[in-house]
């Protein structure tokens, strides 16, 4: 009898402790459901139950610049963007490795802007990229590579240790999205319909070292090897946005890398006219990122290349997948309509982006 009591307690106590810890943690971690949504994107991938033959990896230059819905609508390409704010090259590598646990895309498109970073940058970007990843050796390694000086692995394993102090700043959205979060992207694409014409950017500062770092280039090499091992075609791209500045010296090195490895590399800054981008209307933040119309033009352009170069399935003909895409399209249209309506009413978006941040 006594033994049964001990065993029961040995089971029940940890379960109760874990539930309480998890409940508190769920409340205290940032939800990224209002205002800044980038931190919620990484996890959304796991909810997508359709195949993805094209995978985009990289930073904001992918998740804001390419409409996955347009790619599907025009070419039947089922794609996903696994990107997040300032996603570093080794993070992209491990995210690709993580993706391979679930599926093997035919083509991986990597945006090269992150090659400029040779070391971890900011904790906040790390957290937005890494917190949403499911636990796996890939996540563990990604954290190890990404931690800035004062970060610790324990804080990633138990995010409550990092976010506990938010008890003072809990907002209504923390309670609203305590146990369930919305899907805010469309297969990784983050939509904005407003527009702010491209401005004059400050002149490029001279480079101390014209070479891209050895570290990021080695991760690009690893990414290439990983794709090769899995029979994936790797494509390199530089998004058409001009700022942050992409130096010709860097461009040359990526070009050399691509040609020495037999990869395609597109610097879309040089192809803005062919894409049809009008940066007075196709960007929402003065030229840093594209808005919906710009992202759709970009999707049309890159889609033509993907469709003509690789043997990709036209999923519009697959009833099961197309049904799932129809749901995405419906949500996509609904959000676009809501944003346009708000834009017309106020002249700006108030429920999305920085304006929507809770006081």
């Amino acid at each position: 009898m006594k033994a049964i009591k001990i065993v029961t307690r040995a089971i029940i106590y940890p379960v109760i402790a874990s539930i309480l810890l998890w409940t508190c943690q769920s409340l205290l971690v940032p939800k990224y459901q209002v205002g800044i949504m980038e931190g919620a994107m990484m996890h959304e991938y796991y909810d997508s139950d359709m195949p993805h033959e094209v995978l985009f990896v990289g930073d904001c230059e992918v998740y804001e610049n390419i409409s996955t819905v347009k790619l599907y609508q025009e070419y039947g390409i089922s794609s996903y963007i696994r990107g997040s704010a300032q996603q570093l090259v080794w993070q992209s590598y491990y995210i690709l490795e993580d993706t391979l646990r679930y599926e093997t895309p035919k083509v991986v498109v990597f945006n090269v802007l992150a090659l400029k970073y040779a070391e971890p940058q900011h904790e906040s970007y790390n957290r937005m990229t890494l917190d949403g990843l499911r636990w796996s050796p890939s996540k563990w390694h990604a954290i190890e590579e990404s931690m800035t000086e004062k970060e610790s692995m324990l804080d990633y394993v138990f995010p409550i240790l990092r976010y506990h102090d938010r008890w003072k700043d809990l907002k209504p959205s923390d309670y609203e999205f305590w146990f369930h979060q919305n899907t805010n992207t469309f297969n990784g694409y983050y939509m904005r319909v407003d527009s702010l014409p491209e401005r004059n950017f400050p002149p490029a500062r001279p480079l101390n070292d014209p070479n891209l770092g050895r570290v990021p280039m080695s991760w690009l090499e690893k990414m290439y090897e990983l794709c090769k091992e899995n029979g994936i075609e790797l494509v390199l791209m530089k998004a058409p946005t001009q700022y942050p500045y992409w130096y010709p010296q860097w461009d040359r090195q990526v070009m050399e890398f691509a040609s020495s490895h037999g990869l395609d590399y597109f610097n879309y800054i040089h192809e803005r006219d062919q894409i049809g981008l009008d940066m007075t209307v196709d960007t929402y933040d003065g030229g840093l990122h594209l808005n919906l119309s710009g992202a759709e033009k970009m999707a049309t352009y890159i889609g033509a290349y993907l469709d003509s170069t690789y043997d990709l399935t036209d999923y519009r003909l697959d009833p099961e997948v197309s049904a799932k895409w129809d749901e995405v399209i419906a949500a996509y249209n609904e959000l676009a309509a809501a944003q346009y309506a708000e834009l017309e009413e106020y002249g700006e978006l108030r429920s999305w982006g920085i304006n929507a941040m809770e006081e």
Binding site: I16, L20, C24, E123, H164, W167
Partner: protein
């Protein structure tokens, strides 16, 4: 390795697990290894100082014991009374030489590492050319382990303790890691009784120890560390924060210091309870004291008893003091005359207590202020008695509460010498409470600009109520609440879990906070 670090939490969990996995007779080796590891993690140089202290105390105490046992054998052979007396005096002289040697080495190291700069800079300042002795390494917890070692040497010298033959056992006594940072200052006879036995704690004491550890972390991490910021803000910029702000600083520092120090001691004693080791209590409801004498019987008890046993009593009964007592009684009358030597001893004890707390005039003045207040209250004692008797105040609960508050604020004011830059600034700031009190500080939102927001004030307020209620339970029943709780495994689990969650969520740690070292670590 800070007590509040994640590494320390993992460390104590590992030590407790390994301790109980090992056979009983090897358990003290686990503690020895853990303690040496603890000091090494702080700085490997600690080991050099510990080795010097350990070897000299161990060796010289063995010699002391050898002299004593030799003498007791030899004295039996001496028949002549005069020769016996002479022999005893010679033995005592020899013992005193070795005792003094051991004490001087221990205190010499303490003096050099902690006070060299203070002494040199003050002495050279007298000659208009201030010199500094910087870059002296101060070993972790040197004040605490030196006092432990000195008490061991003196106890062996007095014959109240036996000298330990096993060097490593003495090293464990000196280095026992839970006591390294904040004490208590254990005595050999008390700690060694359970330190080397390796006995199982038993379920209830283990549960009680566990609750105490969590309670200690709650006090330290949730309350004390959160109050560090406003206390620093209020006392570092003393020019901006005068009058009512000083009153607020007194309240906050009283709470911070109490939670910091007693929190650390709770962790220390809690760990020891889990290991089946008995450690002396260091605090018994100090803020329930009705006068300063009582306060010092309840606050940092092991330090107080150390100074009483090893300085006050030996001084009071020393031949010179007895001579002085005789002289003063003949000159000043019996009643006052016999108190003169007591006050001189008391003065020296408080001077030493102040110096022990730190190499700064603030601490010396702090010690002397304690002495002055105790002396005045002693002198006024008959007057108080008359007053209390006349109005039957001793039976009144409200008067008891008034006495507690009076002692609380009096000690709180003296304690501010810890915080302000120097003595004049402290007195000026305390004085401003009586000259430039601005009530609007409490209503115009000024208190929200010293490092705490409204939610944090509410949190601190709730914590203060919880602390008070738990203390009140102890005050009323004479028992700790955890003793009741630890009788039930379910209650123990619930209590630990709640304390853990509160500490995790409401603790002032992580980014945005410079988790302060335990305040008493510096001593």
């Amino acid at each position: 390795m800070l007590f509040v670090s994640k590494e320390f939490v993992a460390f104590i969990a590992a030590v407790i697990a390994i301790y109980y996995i090992c056979p009983k007779k090897f358990r003290w080796y686990v503690l020895l290894a853990a303690s040496l590891f603890f000091y090494t993690m702080d700085d490997v140089r600690n080991l050099i100082y510990l080795a010097v202290t350990g070897v000299t105390s161990w060796g010289l105490c063995l010699i002391l014991e050898h002299i004593t046992s030799d003498a007791s054998k030899s004295i039996k052979k001496i028949k002549d009374k005069e020769k016996k007396k002479e022999f005893k005096a010679r033995v005592q002289r020899n013992k005193r030489i070795f005792m003094l040697l051991a004490v001087l080495i221990d205190l010499g190291i303490l003096g050099f590492t902690k006070y060299a700069d203070f002494v040199v800079s003050n002495v050279t300042a007298l000659f208009s050319h201030r010199m500094r002795v910087t870059d002296v390494f101060v070993p972790l917890g040197i004040s605490f382990y030196t006092f432990k070692t000195v008490s061991y040497v003196l106890d062996v010298y007095r014959g109240t303790s036996k000298a330990e033959k096993n060097f490593f056992k003495l090293v464990l006594f000196v280095t026992y890691f839970p006591q390294a940072v904040q004490g208590p200052i254990s005595r050999w006879n008390n700690l060694s009784a359970t330190l080397f036995e390796g006995k199982n704690a038993g379920l209830k004491p283990f549960a009680s120890g566990l609750i105490r550890i969590f309670w200690g972390y709650f006090k330290k991490v949730v309350i004390a560390d959160r109050l560090v910021v406003p206390v620093m803000a209020l006392t570092h910029d003393h020019a901006s924060y005068q009058g009512a702000y000083v009153f607020v600083a007194i309240l906050m520092y009283a709470m911070e210091l109490y939670c910091d120090f007693t929190g650390g001691i709770d962790i220390t004693i809690g760990i020891s309870e889990c290991l089946g080791i008995k450690v002396e209590e260091n605090f018994i409801l100090p803020y329930f004291s009705k006068n300063i004498k009582e306060y010092w019987n309840r606050w940092h008890i092991t330090m107080g008893s150390w100074f009483t046993d090893y300085i006050f009593y030996p001084l009071s009964v020393s031949p010179r003091m007895l001579k002085l007592s005789k002289w003063s009684r003949s000159k000043l009358g019996n009643a006052f005359g016999k108190r003169v030597t007591v006050y001189i001893s008391c003065f020296l004890v408080w001077l030493a207590t102040g110096v022990w707390h730190g190499a700064a005039w603030n601490f010396i003045v702090w010690g002397l202020l304690n002495f002055v207040v105790i002396m005045i209250s002693q002198e006024l004692e008959p007057l108080y008695k008359k007053f209390h008797g006349r109005f039957h105040l001793k039976d009144k609960a409200w008067y008891g509460a008034f006495e507690m508050l009076r002692t609380f604020f009096l000690m709180g004011m003296i304690r501010m010498l810890d915080c302000y830059r120097n003595v004049p600034v402290t007195f000026k700031s305390l004085g401003s409470m009586f000259t430039s009190w601005h009530m609007k500080v409490f209503t115009d939102g000024s208190l929200l600009e010293i490092g705490l927001d409204l939610k944090e004030y509410i949190l601190i307020g709730i914590c203060a109520v919880v602390l008070f209620l738990v203390s009140l339970y102890r005050y009323r029943t004479g028992r700790e609440l955890r003793e009741k709780i630890s009788g039930s495994p379910d209650l123990t689990f619930a209590c630990c879990l709640v304390l853990l969650m509160i500490t995790i969520v409401f603790g002032a740690y992580g980014k945005g906070y410079n988790t302060s070292q335990f305040i008493y670590n510096q001593f």
